[in-house]
């Protein structure tokens, strides 16, 4: 052993230094070193650190709604409307025929319904992630703004679940305890259980209530749907660009109240539905007045009754949707158009005065089709903000008429609505339910509400869209869309 102690010591110092050096370097730098920010991607942290970023996320949710797979198509114009027998599919090999037959085993039908399910839940995921983000990055927005955006998001969450419940859930008034859908309040990759219809409804109503609370400062209440602000009013919380304006293109306070009315009615809570509907009529009529007849029958008719729309999505592809589904030069095998005699004689009772009939249903002057085709979504352009209505004032009048226990008040509300559609007053004592039924059939073409109206009332038969006056027997098997395989298979 020739190595002296000195050498050993020296060696030990060397080793110590080396370990120390490496250790220090590692501890100080590694954690930072491993925090790599991708340059070609937009990280959650970046998004939520600025107001404009937060706005883009919420706007993304609305924009996704306008996709053909959900509100921009399947949930309003095509699939759900076909389930409501609005269109004539009697042409041989009509491409939507199996939908009209409620053939939920058909692959194409399954794919379409799966698309509604998955895109809505994906958007729900975005919504929940947005809500979590608002709470996590708390200091970016003012409290007023945060409440407004959070209120909208929570209301959207309720609305998405509500529409899924109405489509995939049981016939509510017959089987309220039946298994319906899962309800998601978190943005995480964890599965939540499938709840019963009443459980889902409770959560929907809870969310709507919370949303309404958060939206009590919604500028729509004070300033109306365009909410043009006072430049010099420095106390105004929502100054800035258009983001806090155009409240009718957002799920605003009144739209939330209207949704409450719609949901309570579906749940059978007639009193609550009545209260909500009445409050909307009382408070919102000033901002959402009836559309004047001149606008409806003029040279560029307002077929969507835009002034009455409480909530619309901005669907910049709406003209393309019109071309996809309704335009008169479409092949007979794919066009969605009603049976003209049913439309004229049955639905509109041959009443040419109804603003909705001649403005919206036009026999092509070219003679390319020998039946009326649907024009509601034709020629909607940027001037109209590509509006695609989802909730309208008229529905509130129908809800009051349906839920009001005093028939004289009920008929009064229904008549107000009728008057504004070019129809005369109905005398007291008519079958008011039947009249409401007729209104739902006339009013909501291309808005996806009729099927849910039938399902809510659990009618045992409904008018068959492919005939001029035939009826189609209905049952739970037709009303209840089965959960898609993409859900059930992986549970």
């Amino acid at each position: 052993m020739h190595i002296s102690n000195k050498k050993m010591k020296k060696m030990k110092t060397y080793l110590k230094n080396i370990i120390g050096l490496l250790g220090c370097a590692l501890i100080i730098s590694c954690n930072d070193y491993l925090d790599v920010q991708p340059e070609d991607k937009y990280l959650e942290e970046d998004v939520f650190s600025r107001e404009v970023g937060i706005q883009t996320v919420l706007n993304g949710i609305y924009m996704n709604m306008a996709n053909k797979s959900t509100y921009g198509g399947n949930l309003t114009m095509s699939t759900v409307e076909i389930l409501g027998q609005h269109f004539d599919l009697s042409e041989i090999d009509h491409s939507w025929q199996e939908f009209g037959n409620y053939n939920y085993e058909d692959l194409e039908v399954q794919n379409n319904l799966d698309l509604i399910w998955t895109s809505t839940y994906t958007n729900l995921f975005n919504t929940n992630n947005f809500i979590t983000g608002l709470d996590t990055y708390d200091d970016v927005l003012s409290k007023e703004k945060k409440n407004l955006l959070k209120g909208e998001a929570i209301a959207l969450r309720a609305m998405f679940h509500f529409d899924l419940l109405r489509l995939f859930g049981p016939v509510y008034n017959a089987f309220p305890e039946a298994q319906a859908i899962p309800y998601y309040k978190d943005a995480s990759a964890t599965l939540t259980p499938i709840l019963s219809a009443t459980q889902v409804m409770t959560l929907i109503l809870g969310d709507l209530e919370e949303a309404a609370q958060l939206l009590t400062n919604d500028p729509v209440i004070e300033h109306g749907k365009i909410a043009i602000l006072e430049e010099d009013d420095e106390d105004y919380s929502f100054q800035g660009p258009d983001f806090y304006r155009y409240r009718n293109l957002r799920l605003n306070y009144f739209a939330v109240k209207a949704l409450q009315a719609r949901a309570h009615l579906y749940a059978g809570n007639n009193t609550a539905a009545l209260t909500a509907a009445k409050s909307v009529i009382e408070d919102a009529s000033v901002w959402f007045p009836w559309t004047p007849p001149a606008d409806i029958i003029g040279s560029s008719p307002d077929r969507i009754f835009s002034s009455e729309v409480l909530f619309a999505i901005q669907n910049s592809s709406i003209n393309n949707r019109h071309k996809d589904y309704y335009v008169d030069d479409l092949n007979k095998k794919s066009i969605l158009a009603p049976n003209t005699s049913q439309l004229e004689e049955n639905t509109f009772e041959s009443n040419q005065n109804d603003y909705r009939l001649n403005s919206t249903w036009i026999l092509p002057s070219t003679g390319i089709k020998n039946f009326r085709t649907f024009y509601k979504y034709a020629n909607i352009d940027a001037d109209e903000q590509y509006m695609q209505p989802l909730i309208k004032m008229s529905e509130m009048y129908y809800i009051v008429a349906e839920t009001e226990t005093d028939p004289s008040i009920a008929i009064q509300y229904l008549n107000t609505a009728r008057n504004n559609r070019g129809l005369t007053d109905l005398p007291l004592g008519v079958d008011i339910k039947n009249e409401i039924y007729k209104e739902y059939r006339r009013e909501f073409y291309g808005e996806g509400q009729l099927f849910f109206y039938y399902k809510r009332n659990n009618f045992s038969s409904i008018p068959n869209g492919s005939t001029s006056n035939g009826m189609l027997p209905m049952n739970s098997a037709k009303y209840v869309v089965p959960l898609p395989l993409s859900e059930t298979d992986y549970r």
Binding site: K7, M11, Y14, L15, I18, L22, A25, L26, C30, N31, Y33, L34, D35, V36, P38, E39, D40, K41, Y42, L43, E44, E45, V47, V52, G53, Q55, T56, V57, N59, G60, Y62, M63, N64, D114, W117, T118, Y121, T122, F125, N126, N129, I181, P182, Y184, A189, L191, P241, D242, F243, Y246, L249, Q314, S316, Q385, S486, E487, T488, D489, Y490, R491
Partner: protein
Amino acid sequence: MEKKLTSKKCCRLQNNRKTLILKFMKRTFFLCVLCFNISAFSFSQKISLNLGKVKLSEAFKEIRSEANVDFFYSDKELNVDRTVMVNYKNTELLKIIADLIGNNYNIIVKDSNIVLITPRTTTSSQEKITVKGKIIDDQGEVLPGVSIFIKGTKLGTTTDLDGNFTITTDSNAVLVISYLGYVTQQVAVNNRTQIDIQLKLNIKELQEVVITGIVTRKKESFTGAVTSATGKELKAISNVNIVQGIKTIDPAFAIYEDNNFGANPNVLPKIEVRGKTSINTNDLNDEFGNNPNQPLFILDGFETTLRTIVDLDMNRVASMTILKDASSTALYGAKAANGVVVVETIKPVSGDISVIYNLDFAVQIPDLTDYNLMNSTQKLEYERLSGRWTADQYDYLNQFEYNKQYNAILAEIERGVNTYWLNEPVKIGTNLRNSLYVSGGSDSFTYGVGVNYRTIKGVMIGSERKNWGANIDLTYRKNKLNISNRLYINGARADESPYGSFSNFTTANPYFRKTDENGNITKFLDIDDYFGNSISNPLYNSTLNSYDKTHAFNLTNNLRAIYKVNNQIQLQANLQLITGNNTREVFNDPENTLFAETPAAEKGSYQNIKTTNFGYKFNFMATYGKVFKEIHQLNANLRGEAEETNFDRLGIESVGYPVGTNGNPAFAYSYKQNSHPSTAISKYRRVNLLASVNYNYKRMLLFDANYRLDGSTVFGSNKKYSPFWSVGGGWNLHETFNMDPEKVSLLKLRADTGLTGNQEFGNLSSVSIYGFIPNSNIFGQATNLETLANPNLDWQNTLQTSFGIDAVFLKNRLSATVNYYIKKTDPLIARIDLPSSTGVYAYPINAGFIDTNGFETYIRFSPIYKPQDQKIWSLGIKASSVKNEYGDFDNLLKSLDDNAKENSSLLRFRDGNSPDDLWAVPSLGIDPSNGQEVFLTKEGLPTYNYDQDDEVVMGNSRPTLESVFSSNLRIKNFTFNVNLRYRHGGDKINTALFTRVENISSNQRINNQDVRALTERWVQPGDITKFKSITNFNATPISSRFIQKENVLVGESIHFSYELREQAWLDKLSLEKLRFNAYMIDIFRISSIETERGLNYPFARTVSFSLNAYF
């Protein structure tokens, strides 16, 4: 007189030195370890002495005082009273002494001032003779640079490059032959003039070493399982690329034959070492990730890509080592779960300039024997039987038309039309590589410069790959510091064949002519206008200006500094910089039949994708090694490393080209409608800290331990770090029980266990990512959540345990290694679709595990073993077997399962089954009464209805045994090696039966098919066939009928070589040595099943040659 003699002797000594030096200068391939010690002593000092006539003892006395040296001698032997003449002027001391004592005594110098004088043992009548000889090792390989000393003197020489030496010595002298790592031998000359000597490896001192890329260990004290080979051994298998050689050397290194891409030189092989550790789905890794089952490749101490390894100039390879188990791979921690392949290149050696030139040439012959297609007569007959020319009953009008067409085709056939399309897109491929390496330098500074250029012309016409490379290696040594820098620059150009997929030719109908009557290639195939524009001529697209080319350029610089603090401690730092780019351009000519239906303004397309990368790695290592009391040997290493890799990609696409353009994007009408540039930028960072200890006790008991902490950006943000470790032990039985080294020179037991990881995933989402929706509204822009982070994603780690025995018997005539291992990867990472209501798709989760176990056996025996005569014949068998099993998935991976089903893959992700299991519904064959397939239900009942739920495991695609038999024969300068691969017991889906015999839709009848679609399908009741009715065009689902057991024997490599040296004409060319090699690669293949191979690109047989010249 005496004087004269002595001066003569001195002269001769000097002459000897001169010739040695000359020789040394001439042959400069190796380090000469011979030292000319004489000149180094103080005796080289020159003195002047003038005493006149004195007694010898007096003379000694004077010299002692003058030069400060002591003389030792026996008075009995040396007569010091003798009178001598002392009259020297400025003469070397040693010369003076030699002169004084005369010729009969030896002078031995001890320390620096003692002179031992002994009498020569023999009589004075000694003869000087010239002894020639050759030194070889126990493999019969010549050993250059071996030292040969004459015992008792400082005289000696070294062997030249061919192991030859020449020395002039006394006829009864004893030669001492020593060489680093070999047992030193003494051989008495005994008047022989030719002495050939075989040196034995000194196992005790320095056996083979294990190069792990991080540290170099003695194999004897290593507890891991490794396979290594020298560059020479690899080149004795194939001269095409080293991956081919590695697969033959170790069957645990498995290359998966890709039935689609055959011998396409631009497609990389799929490789696994010791089975799978990952779920291999395409969407798992991001675009810059690698195959997650691929081993890690290390080139000269740094990680590299498979592409670099495949393109590497084989002549530069010094050694290759496969690290397989925990003890050997734990050094690479997070990247090591699939094993590590370490490749070292040749380092420059000092000396005068040396030049090595290699020429490799290979010929590839397309292997079309697997295709068994119909000729035109058979084709028409098939069409007739399948009802193509039969109209509905009573439809006489159509029947009349059909008859006309049929007869027109028949007339063509009778005219002799029988086009063999397969020959059209193929040719004999070539592979030519030139490489040159120049090295030299002094002891303190060495340099090496190499260039190589290779052209591969694939067997499909127009399919090419050109590689070029240059490297500059510089090393500087001074005292304790050693700095080396290695720079590699390489580039490639790859072209895909304009003929497109080979399948266009295998499906082309033989009753069509290739060209019209003028010999022009037509756009469509037709007979008498019956077919119109419905069938494209597969040759047509090749006449257009389309191209698909890739340019690549890479630069790598490795800088290393080693500082030896003392004999125990060494510090080392490495810095690697890599940069490169890759551009792929694809142009489809507007006239391509692909665009038949496209509007004119969009005909033709051009795509350009450019990827650039930049990365650095820095590591620092301290090594400590010491032997305590000569029984405890300890080695320890501590190492830290940081690395960063950046990738950047930009791609654009334009459409609409005028007819006849050459594909210059300037001619495009516009960018592709609604497209936008595709980009990706990614950055990975990793850090690690490694500590490793190796201890052995008296070389009997061995112990290895490694610990590595890895940090990475790849996995969840809450799981940035993961530790890896290994512990291994070994027991050298031959040392412990003092076995006779003649019989047992090595017998070692070893076992180890440890945890390694897999990082070949690219960046998995550790943060949530938003993306802009390409649209806006009144509220402005909008974003969407694109990727949801899984901050809790765990690393995918593999626990492996390995046992092994290494043995060498009978002086290396018999050697054997047996390994057994168990690997468990838990948890796995998979991207799955959760139930759709979660709104989450392709979400990376941890799920389940894979269990792998297997064994490897390597046995070599030499029936003929005469290294002295350079006659050795060795036989070897290497075999490997692997089993994999999944577990713990529950229902989590059902979405992957369903995807697999949808893509008609037979692989499933199910607990208790192997990843290689083939799932299918059992078939009972074809019902002879109606030609329908009968399936077996789960309940065991026959049915005509196919139900996927009835599927069971019908086979396993992994062979039960993968083995290589080898025979190596060496007789003098001639060697002959054969390697045959035998694969036993794997199951395979016979795609030819599935797609070309059945599953022919009524539209696909126009395509050519396998002959069996005509001969072996059911035609009428009573036919007992394997294939269903010839008129049934419904899709056939995959059933057990298409799964077949495959046993295959492949002539993987046959190699001859012949070496030329000592030829007059070589000298004229100033050539030292010239070696010729010839290879046959994959020259034959005998399989138990008949199926088509090389669907998009044919396979090839290779015959190659190489020439190595040493100047």
